[in-house]
């Protein structure tokens, strides 16, 4: 056995070459080349005793556990199996040569010398990406997507959207942190509308500015592996809003449109290791988030310029009918407005309107007041009349008279809108029991 140095090329000679090889000789060479190469061997000279089936002397070549032939004879000899200019190429990184000579080299009693052989080998780059170069027929392709050969090796790459895995062979969709920030857009399962890959853990996050509501509209086709009896046991499309799941879908019935009422939506797509469904595609849009329609709490409340729809940053103003005060709890408001917030709520709750109360009318010194209307209260539009303690006082009023009405402003006013109450002035020179002299 002759060890062959691990080189990229070399020469192998039969024993004694170029002199005749000896009888009864067995020589073996194991050629090894680096990984990524194959061995290519050619004979420059070949002269071995010819025999049927190379029974006596021969060179046997094996590679990849396969017999590449048993060779003997001379160039042009009728018997034997001369290799000629044949190129022997291994599929692996090694090749094995075995030389064998028998006890004699005679032809009809005449001793004949044969010189043996001279072979050269070289390491030839292996094109691992060539499907025909696979070491075994049952071996999988070297790369799941794309294979790139180079001298001494190869590497794999993946289609757009896929990532080469740690085995340097597999390609997997990288969809664990897809982020969408545009106001509208499309997102879909990998390879849509072609069947989606297995073992997906996709997470599509839509993040829009506050105050916007995301609307999801599923396009056709919609196909996710399902089971007739069990809800989505294989693959699931989950919709989450602020961490809260609002839907889990599979099957072939499209969910249609989903109004999320949120500016943050997460779509999770989980698949198992098998299936042949075509997946899904979503066209998402956004609109300003809506607030509930404001509703008056009582019949005296007026919502100014009521709109059919209120969205983020819209506002409404509330007033009361004349004679009513705007109240928030027990607090009287001079003005009220409420703004639609980013979370779809109003920043202030609806106030109510309370009838104006003028309070007790001012007391009239040396006089009094009385209610004209039966209700005898101090509410808006109540009417009182002042009078003086006659006959000792007489009333003096403004031009608005002695009748006062509870005004919308919460004050008692006369018919001219004046607040000043009448005065009771003394009556002079009018004794109740004047001097009367009977005697004349």
């Amino acid at each position: 056995s002759s060890p062959v140095p691990r080189k990229l090329f070399g020469v192998i000679r039969s024993p004694g070459y170029p002199k005749p090889y000896p009888n009864n000789n067995i020589s073996i060479w194991d050629i090894h080349v680096p990984k990524g190469y194959v061995v290519k061997l050619t004979f420059q000279y070949f002269d071995l005793e010819p025999s049927e089936s190379c029974f006596y002397d021969y060179v046997k070549i094996t590679a990849d556990k396969k017999n590449l032939g048993r060779y003997c004879g001379q160039l042009g000899s009728a018997t034997g199996n001369h290799p000629g200019r044949k190129k022997f190429v291994s599929k692996g990184t090694s090749m094995h040569l075995a030389f064998h000579s028998d006890f004699s080299n005679e032809d009809n009693g005449t001793v004949i010398s044969y010189r043996g052989f001279l072979a050269s080998y070289q390491a030839v780059d292996l094109n691992e990406c060539d499907p025909n170069s696979a070491a075994g027929e049952d071996e999988r392709p070297r790369c799941q997507h794309f294979c790139h050969n180079y001298v001494g090796g190869y590497f794999c790459s993946c289609r757009t959207g896929y990532q080469l895995q740690s085995d340097h062979h597999s390609c997997k969709v990288e969809c664990s942190s897809e982020l969408f920030t545009e106001a509208s857009g499309y997102l879909s399962s990998p390879d849509y509308p072609q069947p989606y890959p297995e073992d997906l853990r996709c997470n599509y996050s839509i993040r829009l500015q506050r105050g916007l509501s995301i609307i999801l509209r599923f396009l056709e086709p919609f196909e996710i592996d399902e089971h007739q009896q069990v809800h989505c046991p294989y693959d699931q499309l989950k919709i989450q809003v602020h961490g809260r799941q609002i839907g889990e879908f599979c099957g072939v019935k499209s969910p249609g449109s989903i109004e999320t009422n949120s500016n943050e939506v997460d779509i999770l797509f989980l698949t198992d290791e098998s299936g042949f469904s075509r997946g899904w595609k979503i066209h998402y849009t956004s609109q300003k988030i809506r607030c509930p329609q404001p509703v008056p709490r009582d019949q005296f409340t007026i919502i100014r310029d009521l709109q059919p729809l209120y969205q983020f940053q819209d506002y409404f103003i509330v007033t009361c009918k004349t004679g009513y005060n705007l109240m928030q709890g027990n607090q009287k408001l001079l003005y009220f407005s409420s703004v639609c917030q980013a979370d779809g709520t109003w920043h202030q709750s609806m106030p109510h309107c309370e009838i104006v109360n003028c309070g007790n009318p001012a007391d009239l010194t040396n006089g009094a007041f009385s209610y004209v209307n039966q209700s005898a209260n101090n509410n808006y539009q109540s009417v009182i009349t002042y009078r003086c303690n006659e006959p000792y006082y007489h009333i003096v009023t403004g031009t608005g008279g002695d009748t006062f009405t509870c005004s919308p402003e919460g004050t008692w006013v006369d018919q001219n809108g004046q607040m000043r109450i009448p005065a009771c002035l003394p009556v002079c020179g009018k004794p109740v029991t004047p001097l009367t002299e009977v005697q004349r």
Binding site: N389, P426, C428, P431
Partner: protein, 251 residues
């Protein structure tokens, strides 16, 4: 009041009893003013005239609402806020009662009623109240038959023509340089013993205005030569209506 009668409750509801330098009278104007004679505050030739008006206001006692002095004291005093004396009044001139008029402003308005009511002031355009013979009534808590009265008395007196007053005064005054100014008038009788007297000063002589059916104050009991010995002299309120109204308006 000499030769008068007792007043019934409510006959003279404006009548005030004053106690400043002794007994005096006054009349209610409005619900917080007392019209009186200046000499009840600063008597002629008195030693106490050095007291300030503020001090006098503090010490003044004013009673309203009854015909009996005792009852008036029970009802209580109406404290005085300020005193206004007419600028023409000269306390040092014992023979000239010109400007003998004053106003007392009460601290608190009084509540009017049957026994407390104000008297009216004369209309400055109406001089008929001073015509000769025009009857009026004067009331007071003053001297009656040498005794101060314990109850309100009244007497009816006619106004007297100026010439008669002057003539009578000339005959009576002798060397006394007493002044009878245009701002005074006299009323009373020469022969009938009916007159006002000491303690009635400040009370008012009133006449009934038939047109308005109101009693109007025409004079303030001011001075006289004796009591019931002839005419009595009164401050002519008509001359001072503007001053009265000005004081009241400004305060």
């Amino acid at each position: 009041i000499i030769g008068g009668k007792s007043a019934s409750s409510g006959n003279f509801p404006w009548q005030a009893l004053t106690d400043i330098h002794g007994r005096g009278g006054g009349a209610l104007l409005g619900d917080r003013w007392i019209l009186t004679a200046a000499h009840t505050i600063y008597p002629k030739g008195a030693v106490g005239n050095s007291l300030s008006l503020e001090k006098l206001a503090e010490e003044a006692n004013i009673f309203l609402g009854h015909t009996k002095v005792e009852e008036l004291h029970k009802i209580g005093n109406h404290p005085v806020r300020r005193i206004f004396i007419h600028p023409d009044y000269n306390p040092d001139d014992g023979y000239n009662f010109n400007g003998d008029i004053a106003l007392l402003e009460l601290k608190h308005p009084v509540t009017l009623g049957p026994t407390v009511l104000p008297i009216c002031l004369p209309d400055t355009t109406n001089t008929t109240f001073y015509m000769d013979g025009r009857m009026g009534y004067v009331s007071g808590f003053g001297v009656e038959k040498n005794f101060v009265s314990n109850e309100l008395k009244y007497v009816g007196l006619p106004a007297v023509a100026r010439e008669k007053c002057q003539s009578w005064l000339d005959s009576k005054k002798g060397d006394m340089p007493i002044v009878f100014s245009e701002n005074m008038f006299c009323a009373g009788f020469l022969t009938v013993r009916q007159d006002t007297c000491q303690g009635d000063s400040g009370s008012v002589l009133t006449v009934l205005d038939k047109e308005s059916d109101r009693w109007v104050a025409t004079g303030i009991v001011s001075w006289g030569i004796g009591c019931a010995e002839g005419y009595g002299f009164y401050t002519k309120i008509l001359s001072y209506v503007d001053w009265i109204k000005k004081i009241m308006r400004e305060n």
